[in-house]
């Protein structure tokens, strides 16, 4: 009562209360602990339980990891080291050391390892303009050319095969520009058919004639030499980059007013989604050969890529359809009312918004696709899982498995976690609705 005058009605403060620190339970670590870990009895019980689980896991795996052996040429060498030290068995990472090249490249010729490495480095450059806005836009041309470069680097052979394949797109572009005066629809149709015609009729002879005239090329590597993470990345990256555009087209087709296009898309999506991927892969590896004309050899990796792409595209189409459905009708109407035609409206108004909404689902599908590449082990391709089986069958490493699978899992995790982080960055960057 020192600073108030209780006898009078009016109140005048004559001493100001200085700012004081909050009580100990309301600041710093104590506050954080109370709010996040011990917020009520349920929270406290769960905290204690979680701590116990974490402690148990650390106690179980910690000593095993502490006894890691890195320099060993075989499992028996690891065992000898532990026996000499008089400790129980630990992690024998020697297998990773010993077989790293195999896990990364499969049976790719060792003197050509620089080619997949260069292809991977160039992939990072090619991804730049697609993933980040601050990369110069001009680089997108490099990204467009990258698939052909990557094919040439990985498989090698004559340079004229990828060049003539790429020329198909040049043909398409030229036809589109030349026939523009005839109207958009005929020009688009022609631009769609012309490259098909080019690839079917002219591309092969063109490549062989050019190879005779100007033989430029590097050593050819057969598909069955591919393996390890090389194969996962080749299938995964190609599948991811092809399934998105295909998924967009399927989603648009499913929404089309044209009954024929709509039913084709619906049938395709429902059929592919309704069949297990492994069935499609077996179809790719076994059945497809019966349907192809005799004598044609159709690369197994290519067949698998096609199947994986189709499979992911069907899922992608449904994810994107969800994004489309979330857009208010007013957006379509505003685009129409401004005189934008269907494709411009889709490209400038509808897709940028629908894809942004669908980012979590799209990335989900990407991650699923990338991990599904390990299924190719069942049709005899030597992806990391297939290789791990082969490695464990060798006399040196018989009986080892945790170390291999932890390594493979960790590498997959790095890729998938990277995709997940990128998608969150992208969502933040594209958030303009300020809700």
């Amino acid at each position: 009562m020192s600073d108030t005058h209780a006898q009078t009605v009016a109140f005048v403060r004559d001493t100001m209360i200085p700012e004081q620190v909050p009580p100990v339970t309301e600041r710093g670590a104590v506050k954080w602990l109370r709010e996040n870990l011990f917020n009520g009895w349920l929270s406290t019980v769960l905290t204690v339980l979680s701590l116990l689980v974490v402690a148990w896991m650390v106690l179980e795996t910690g000593p095993w990891l502490m006894r890691s052996v890195w320099d060993a040429g075989s499992l028996s060498e690891c065992r000898r080291i532990w026996a000499e030290a008089g400790v129980p068995a630990g992690a024998c990472w020697g297998v990773i050391n010993d077989r790293l090249h195999q896990l990364l490249f499969g049976f790719y010729p060792p003197h050509l390892y620089w080619r997949p490495v260069l292809a991977l480095a160039l992939l990072l450059v090619a991804l730049g303009p697609i993933l980040f806005p601050w990369v110069p836009r001009k680089l997108i041309w490099f990204s467009a050319a990258y698939p052909f470069m990557a094919y040439f680097l990985l498989w090698g052979g004559s340079i004229w095969l990828p060049v003539s394949a790429a020329l198909g797109f040049v043909v398409a572009g030229a036809v589109l520009v030349l026939l523009r005066p005839l109207g958009t629809l005929p020009a688009t149709l022609a631009a769609f058919l012309a490259p098909l015609l080019w690839w079917a009729v002219a591309a092969g002879p063109f490549a062989s004639v050019m190879s005779d005239l100007l033989p430029v090329g590097i050593e050819f590597v057969r598909s069955d030499r591919f393996g390890g993470f090389l194969i996962s990345l080749v299938i995964g990256v190609t599948g991811i980059s092809l399934s998105l555009p295909l998924g967009i087209l399927l989603a648009l087709g499913r929404q089309s007013d044209m009954i024929l296009i709509k039913s084709i898309c619906v049938t395709f999506i429902e059929f592919i989604r309704g069949v297990p991927l492994i069935t499609l892969l077996f179809t790719a590896s076994l059945l497809l050969n019966y349907f192809l004309p005799p004598g044609t050899s159709f690369d197994l990796i290519l067949r698998v890529i096609i199947m994986v792409t189709l499979f992911a595209a069907a899922y992608m189409a449904e994810v994107i359809r969800g994004g489309l459905a979330a857009l208010p009708r007013g957006q379509y109407e505003a685009a129409d009312a401004l005189g934008l035609d269907y494709w411009k409206a889709q490209r400038l108004i509808i897709m940028p918004q629908a894809l942004r909404i669908a980012i979590p689902g799209i990335v989900n599908t990407f991650i699923g696709l990338f991990k599904d590449t390990t299924l190719v082990v069942f049709i005899g391709l030597l992806d990391p899982i297939g290789l791990s089986n082969a490695i464990r069958a060798s006399s040196d490493w018989q009986g080892i498995y945790w170390e291999l699978f932890i390594f493979i899992g960790a590498v997959f995790f790095v890729f998938c976690f990277g995709m997940s982080r990128y998608s969150m960055y992208l969502e933040r960057r594209l958030r303009t609705d300020h809700r």
């Binding site: 208010p328 109407e333 505003a334 129409d336 009312a337 401004l338 411009k344 942004r356 594209l430 303009t432």
Partner: protein, 271 residues
């Protein structure tokens, strides 16, 4: 209804003097609708609509909800398809021919109740998109045009913001500017102030009045009777998919002919 005209202009303070010098109705036909019918499934929304709009007219369409007034103006740029009859806009008949539709749409501006700005683009990009992609105007020039119209609707300082950062009234003014950037010869307004807070209605109406003063041909679906009285040269009253009555605004409000109109006016004017 009494004989005296209620002073509608008090509403939302249309207190300014309207400059009528350029508000001239010419004999040139801008829109010709004949015997137009439309159904939604079994529901006959528009019945035998006949309407001629001359260049320079400011028409207000009113009527109870569900009377087909929005559908009518949405038929004019074929956001809705009519099933019989004829609609000719600036000499182009609306059929299923996509070329004609896109041509009409690029000449007819439309403003929506819910603005329908593109939320992923800035205000400036909203305004330049159609000029660049439909009219093929170079980006720089399109931006100059856009800034000109943004100044006209008095929000040039918001050009680099996104629609989500603007108030409803500002968004609607951007939507008007976006339409104007296509230099349309006809403007359609579909209840432009219905989704706005009262204090924002005035700023949008002011913009619309300004547009009328410049001689724009306008059709507005609106319940702003003050606006109708101040600016319109004709008020069209619709009910059950038909045009029930149309007249110049003074006569329309002072001397409504049909019972339906009288009832509607008494309800909407709150007497």
């Amino acid at each position: 209804m009494t004989d005296t005209v209620p002073d509608l202009s008090i509403e939302h303070g249309i207190d300014r003097k309207i400059d009528t010098r350029k508000m001239k109705v010419t004999s040139e036909v801008a829109i010709q609708i004949t015997k137009m019918n439309k159904w939604f499934g079994q529901f006959h929304v528009l019945r035998d609509i006949d309407m001629t709009v001359h260049r320079g007219e400011r028409i207000v369409v009113c009527g109870p909800s569900g009377s087909g007034k929005s559908t009518l103006i949405r038929c004019i740029n074929r956001l809705e398809e009519h099933q019989s009859g004829q609609i000719i806009v600036d000499g182009t008949e609306l059929t299923s021919d996509l070329k004609n539709i896109d041509k009409v749409r690029s000449e007819v501006g439309m403003v929506f109740q819910h603005f329908n700005l593109f939320p992923h683009l800035t205000i400036l990009e909203n305004c330049t998109l159609a000029p660049i992609w439909v009219r093929k105007i170079p980006k720089k020039e399109a931006e100059e045009i856009a800034m000109h119209f943004l100044e006209k609707v008095k929000i040039p300082e918001q050009a680099l913001k996104y629609p989500g950062q603007l108030s409803g009234g500002q968004q609607q003014r951007v939507a008007i500017a976006r339409s104007l950037c296509m230099k349309p010869r006809i403007m359609l307004f579909d209840e432009p102030t219905s989704a706005l807070d009262p204090e924002m209605i005035k700023e949008v109406l002011d913009t619309m009045i300004q547009l009328a003063e410049e001689g724009m041909t306008m059709i507005c679906v609106t319940h702003e009777m003050g606006f109708a009285q101040a600016v319109a040269n004709r008020v069209v009253f619709m009910d059950q998919g038909q045009i029930v009555e149309q007249n110049e605004p003074r006569e329309f409000f002072r001397n409504p002919q049909s019972e339906r109109t009288k009832l509607f006016l008494s309800q909407i004017l709150g007497h």
